[in-house]
């Protein structure tokens, strides 16, 4: 029951035509001291495509996008944005990228409009274009009515929307969104997801990092599953689910010693992956309906009691479990 540590690519292995790609990353590596945060990541994104980096906290997603945005220099590998090599000093490549950092990156003492105008100037928009774009972005992010209010008077969701709006201001060819919905209320979260869907339809390439499986499933045309600085699988959602073959997911709610129960399930020949989620144990195995009585018997032998059983088809979380041997939330 070893996790497959090699990246599994589906389709052409690159996912899109590199000659038309907005972003090409090749063999990116970056270490912080003894920690290898990114270890050979490579992918491409085409115009109008939303590409997801899905992985738990600490998987290397933020380090990867920091290199793509020109904040960090890779130890090895190359990044090309609209045909221009990206480095911390390449202003022309940076002009093609819009970054929405994970943490709020706004000036709380400036109004929404002042925030937008300042960054519009940094990106070199002339006065007429600046006015036009600021008004447009304020409308898109739903802050036109509060344009002249200071950002520190905004709710968390409004600040998040302003944070995203700044990234859109100069109409970048590539928009990078780093976990933009963390800490956001459901209503604002939905508004953010709708905005991202809309941007992709307008031809913008979007790089979206998240550890929420449902966001990746909803937004992303292709998804890279990232763990310990590597892409362990990449493809569309159906392609990724297909990588785990005809496995089923069995979720057992257990009362009693879950550690012993988990060990008993791991010892079962047909089970390929096991993980715990609170009092539940999640197993991947082929032919779940046939094997279920044996699984229940194995748990019962540990003197734990199964209080509920669920059998379902796999999702991305299960794909992650299959490829890494651990749950996405870990």
């Amino acid at each position: 029951m070893q996790a497959d540590r090699s990246a599994e690519r589906i389709g052409d292995g690159r996912g899109s035509d590199p000659s038309a790609a907005i972003l090409i990353c090749d063999g990116l590596r970056r270490a912080f001291g003894a920690i290898q945060a990114v270890d050979g990541i490579g992918f491409t994104i085409s115009p109008g495509e939303t590409y997801g980096l899905l992985g738990p906290n600490g998987a290397g997603k933020t380090t990867t996008i920091s290199m793509i945005a020109g904040l960090l220099r890779p130890d090895d590998g190359e990044i090309t944005v609209v045909g221009r090599r990206m480095t911390p000093n390449s202003t022309r490549a940076k002009a093609e990228v819009g970054l929405v950092p994970q943490d709020l990156a706004i000036y709380p003492d400036l109004s929404a409009r002042e925030n937008l105008v300042f960054f519009a100037r940094l990106y070199g928009l002339d006065a007429a274009r600046r006015r036009e774009r600021c008004d447009e972005v304020l409308r898109v992010i739903g802050l036109a009515e509060r344009a002249d209010d200071r950002a520190d008077t905004f709710s968390g969701g409004m600040k998040r929307r302003l944070n995203i709006g700044i990234g859109l201001l100069h109409e970048p060819r590539l928009l990078i969104l780093d976990e933009p919905t963390v800490g956001v209320d459901p209503q604002s979260r939905n508004a953010i997801l709708e905005s991202v869907e809309h941007l992709a339809t307008e031809g913008m390439a979007v790089l979206y990092t998240t550890h929420y499986m449902e966001e990746a499933e909803r937004l992303c045309d292709r998804i890279a599953i990232v763990d310990e600085g590597r892409i362990v699988a990449e493809g569309t959602r159906p392609e990724l689910v297909a990588t785990i073959g005809s496995l089923d997911v069995v979720r057992l709610e257990v009362a009693g010693d879950t550690v012993r129960a988990k060990a008993a399930l791991e010892a079962h020949d047909e089970v390929t992956s096991v993980d715990t989620d609170g009092t539940a144990i999640v197993c991947l195995l082929p032919g779940a309906a046939r094997a279920l009585p044996q699984l229940l018997a194995a748990v019962a032998a540990t003197e734990a009691t199964v209080t509920a059983v669920e059998v379902r088809v796999p999702d991305l979380e299960d794909v992650f479990l299959h490829h890494t041997g651990k749950a996405l939330r870990d």
Binding site: R92, K94, P101, A105, Y107
Partner: protein
């Protein structure tokens, strides 16, 4: 590069002016403290010593004090003489606060001195007025020294065989002749500013070190509030962020110090000397302050930590430089040379004394040197602040 630096500078100025801390610490507090200090310590502005002399001696030495020395001090506007008939009256005046000191010239003092027995001048003082007491005692000590000189001259003449009938003339001549050796005031004291100007300049120098702090704290704040990655992702040279911050701090320092100079001149009558020299000194002071505060702040990880470190250094250097009280000559003046504040006050004093703006150049040079020596390692160390 320049365009981006100016944009960052403009944004920072807007933020700083909006939170009013610059206005408060750059102008209002230093100007207010200058006014408050000048009210608390009126003696610093116009010193006068209301005092009485009780001449119980009635001889030539008592007369020399009461009729010659005292009128000189009154004419020099150091002493305001208040009549007192006797010692009891003088003590009553002192107790009522009408005088700050009284000199009691004892009965038979002249005779005792002539006989070589020695005598004692009593100085009654009000302990609450330390400066007045010190001056009164100094006057008495100076007079006693002069008497000693005359006595010594007469004794020397007698031993040398001068006839006894000529000894009185020798004494008269010794009493009226100017001293053979005089001590000129040291340059540092000569170049001292008047008290109000000194206070205003001292406060300006002291607070500009707080005004320019934000050059570094601004960089650290950008990191703390999450805006640094956005700046670094923008199509601008990363160094323009550092330049914008430093330029903003420098500009605020120059403007606030200039407003203080003009304000203290108009409101308090402070004298800063020729404007050209003052401008050179202000620019040099702000260069020193910006460089030093950047260097100190480069050792901090957070804006709060930087602010604390910078405040400790700013207060220490201010004290060493004598921003609160004038430093005369001696070892304190030597210590003041390790502080840009001291050089600023020294330069200002020199140009006020000389009336020539070129007198500020040595002090301005010293301050620029401070700034450059501190800024070079600060810039190198702060490169990490504009990396991700």
């Amino acid at each position: 590069m320049l365009r981006a630096a100016l944009l960052i500078l403009g944004k920072d100025l807007r933020l700083r002016l909006r939170d009013r801390s610059v206005l408060l610490f750059g102008v209002i507090v230093p100007l207010g403290l200058t006014v408050v200090f000048s009210l608390i310590f009126p003696e610093m502005d116009e010193f006068e010593l209301p005092a009485a002399v009780v001449d119980l001696d009635g001889g030539p030495i008592g007369a020399a004090f009461a009729d010659e020395l005292l009128p000189e001090l009154v004419a020099a506007e150091v002493v305001v003489e208040v009549p007192a008939a006797d010692e009891a009256a003088a003590r009553a005046l002192l107790a009522d606060g009408d005088i700050s000191a009284a000199w009691i010239l004892p009965e038979g003092m002249s005779d005792a001195v002539a006989a070589g027995r020695g005598a004692r001048i009593e100085v009654l003082v009000n302990p609450d007025r330390a400066l007045a007491a010190e001056v009164a005692q100094g006057v008495a000590r100076g007079f006693a020294t002069r008497i000693d000189e005359v006595t010594l001259a007469v004794a020397t003449a007698a031993v040398s065989g001068v006839p006894a009938d000529q000894l009185e003339a020798v004494g008269q001549r010794a009493a009226t002749s100017p001293p053979l050796v005089t001590v000129e005031p040291l340059v540092a004291q000569d170049a001292q500013l008047d008290p109000i100007s000194y206070l205003a300049a001292g406060m300006a120098a002291f607070f500009v070190f707080f005004t320019v702090q934000y050059g570094v704290t601004g960089l650290l704040e950008e990191r703390q509030q999450g805006t640094m990655p956005r700046l670094l992702a923008a199509p601008i040279p990363p160094a323009s962020i550092q330049i914008g911050k430093a330029a903003g701090a420098f500009l605020l320092g120059v403007v606030s110090t200039t407003v203080l100079a003009v304000g203290s001149r108009l409101l308090l009558g402070a004298s800063w000397g020729p404007p050209v020299g003052t401008a050179i000194l202000i620019v040099a002071l702000v260069i020193a302050a910006t460089g030093l505060m950047a260097f100190v702040g480069s050792y901090a990880r957070t804006a709060e930590q930087a602010g604390n470190l910078q405040s400790i250094v700013a207060v220490s250097l201010g004290m060493l430089g004598g921003v609160f009280f004038p430093i005369g000559a001696g070892w304190l003046a030597t210590v003041a040379a390790v502080s840009p504040h001291g050089w600023f006050l020294r330069g200002l004093g020199a140009q006020v004394a000389d009336g020539d703006w070129r007198a500020v150049l040595p002090a301005a040079g010293a301050m620029v040197l401070f700034g450059v020596v501190a800024a070079v390692p600060a810039v190198l160390r702060l490169r990490k602040a504009i990396r991700w």
